[in-house]
């Protein structure tokens, strides 16, 4: 049931404590968890430690009960920028997710690449280069590549940060649908309250650095599993949004 577990994790870079109070959090399998917090508080650092791109100073992060090691393709990353390779076509970028897989034949890889291209709506742009498609499409390339790699944990660091509001909304809806369809566990970092509430099962609100959990918001029990654009104008969403903003303000503390 528990897929990902932070067990008394702390992290410091030299003299800078990023996570000082031991950090505990369990993420259930197929849960969509959002890290929401002020800029520079340590969200990215915590997420990178899950990916194996950084190691905790003390404590442990466990994936399916095992301490996480160096990066592997069970934990896929989607970055805000440089999320795809400019020298590969859209299709080749997606196929890159399977480049080092030995459990699939070339034919299987080709079939899967097409499936995921189709899933994220990029099939007809297969032969384009990332430079020739929009920012939103580039993020979808990254999502498809991560899925093709066979990741069951998606680690997404402000993946839609550079997109305009309408495109963000659309990708959020798509991401939520894919996550439910393919039953993925997602850890998603953002500092946009509405984005957090719209995609999450659970929102973890961070204090400013050193990062500490201020509160957690069980969005799923309030909004359910299905998320539609119309919900964003609903009263439930509005109330939740106000509550969350209150929590975030409190977290920011004397800065405001």
């Amino acid at each position: 049931m528990v897929h990902l577990q932070f067990d008394r994790v702390t992290k410091r870079f030299g003299d800078v404590p990023v996570v000082e109070t031991p950090f505990d959090l369990s993420v259930r399998r197929h849960e969509f968890v959002v890290f929401l917090g002020p800029s520079g508080c340590g969200k990215t650092t915590l997420m990178r430690m899950v990916g194996g791109l950084d190691a905790p100073t003390t404590g442990e992060i466990r994936l399916e009960g095992e301490p996480v090691g160096p990066p592997d393709r069970r934990r896929g990353m989607v970055f805000q920028s440089y999320s795809s390779f400019p020298w590969l076509t859209v299709a080749e970028n997606v196929a890159f997710g399977m480049k080092y897989r030995t459990d699939l034949t070339e034919t299987e890889k080709a079939v899967r690449a097409e499936q995921y291209l189709d899933l994220v709506g990029l099939y007809e742009f297969s032969d384009h280069y990332p430079n020739q498609v929009s920012g939103g499409m580039r993020q979808r390339i990254a999502i498809a590549r991560t899925l093709a790699a066979g990741a069951d944990v998606l680690l997404m660091d402000e993946p839609f940060g550079a997109l305009d509001a309408l495109r963000r909304e659309q990708l959020q809806t798509e991401l939520r649908a894919i996550q439910r369809r393919d039953a993925k566990t997602v850890v998603f970092v953002t500092h946009d309250v509405e984005e957090a509430l719209f995609v999450a099962d659970r929102v973890v609100v961070f204090s400013k650095r050193p990062a500490r959990i201020v509160t957690q918001i069980d969005v799923r029990s309030r909004l359910g599993d299905e998320r539609t654009i119309e919900m964003r104008d609903g009263d439930d969403f509005f109330a939740l949004r106000r509550e969350t903003i209150g929590a975030v303000r409190a977290a920011a503390g004397d800065e405001l």
Partner: protein
């Protein structure tokens, strides 16, 4: 909830249309039109036309000045004289063979420098220890003037081919190593991390991602250092050679045959220009993806 492609551009146009109603009169009134607006693009085909036109104009002025007798032919012969001298040198003095010998030297030294500089430069920025170890030495040597090392080169290698290759290599390798290291340093960390998270090991990340990411700027830097090789060629061939364009130029100087000197110089320029343009063309072909839609 279907995963259909978004209507690209359409949405943002609608959103923007109510805002972007800038009247023509609101344009910067002093804005100049035409090619002399800052950073204005040239219409298609103009680039080549302007380049050829300007070059011909310079040659024409030069020719006229020389013909009017405003210069002494001994110092400043007309383009036509240089051209006819060049033609004569091709038939009488094996000029093209000398050019070929020089080209081989340049490419030999250049390839040697490149083959050594690429792995070393990549290692220098890929592994901090290697960088820390080599940076002082590389930086020191790269500021040494190549001509000052000619005597040393002759002591070490005599006056054979090795000396020439060594001098050219010396002039390019140390510069190139640092350029390669810089190219590698500019590869975003995210690229490595993407590779690792789809299961690549370090060697695969280096080969399949980092090297590929730095390739366009690497090729550019190689092109530029090939140009430096031609600069040092003359030094090498003046000092110790009985062949090559440097030798031809230096021999002609001894008898004050200015047109021959100029013919040699011009030939180097032509070879350089042609190589550079060819490499630029190949660069554009190979790295089409750098240009957006």
């Amino acid at each position: 909830m279907s995963l259909v492609a978004e209507a690209e551009g359409g949405t943002s146009d609608v959103a923007g249309s109510s805002v972007q109603t800038t009247a023509p009169s609101a344009r910067r009134p002093t804005a100049r039109r035409g090619p002399f607006r800052l950073r204005a693009p040239l219409p298609r085909g103009w680039d080549a036309a302007v380049a050829v036109g300007a070059s011909l104009a310079i040659l024409a002025v030069w020719e006229i000045v020389a013909r009017l007798g405003l210069t002494t032919p001994l110092f400043f012969p007309a383009p036509s004289t240089i051209l006819s001298t060049m033609a004569r040198m091709i038939s009488d003095q094996n000029l093209l063979w000398h050019a070929w010998v020089s080209t081989l030297r340049v490419w030999g030294a250049f390839l040697l420098a490149a083959v050594m500089a690429i792995p070393i430069g990549v290692a220098m920025s890929g592994y901090r220890v290697v960088g820390a170890a080599l940076e002082p030495a590389v930086d020191f040597i790269r500021y040494l003037p190549v001509p000052a090392l000619v005597p040393l080169a002759i002591i070490w290698f005599g006056v054979g081919e090795e000396t020439k290759i060594f001098l050219l290599w010396l002039g390019t390798f140390f510069q190139l190593v640092l350029l390669v290291a810089d190219d590698m340093r500019r590869v975003p960390n995210e690229y490595f991390e993407i590779a690792y998270t789809v299961g690549a090991n370090e060697r695969q990340a280096l080969k399949d991602v980092a090297f590929r990411a730095m390739l366009p700027s690497l090729v550019d830097n190689l092109r530029i250092s090939l140009g430096w090789c031609w600069t040092y060629l003359i030094i090498a061939e003046i000092v110790a050679a009985d062949s090559g364009l440097g030798f031809v130029i230096w021999a002609a100087r001894r008898y004050m045959k200015t047109p021959e000197v100029m013919a040699g110089v011009v030939l180097i320029g032509v070879i350089g220009l042609a190589t550079d343009q060819l490499l630029r063309l190949l660069h554009r072909r190979a790295f089409r993806y750098l240009r957006g839609a």
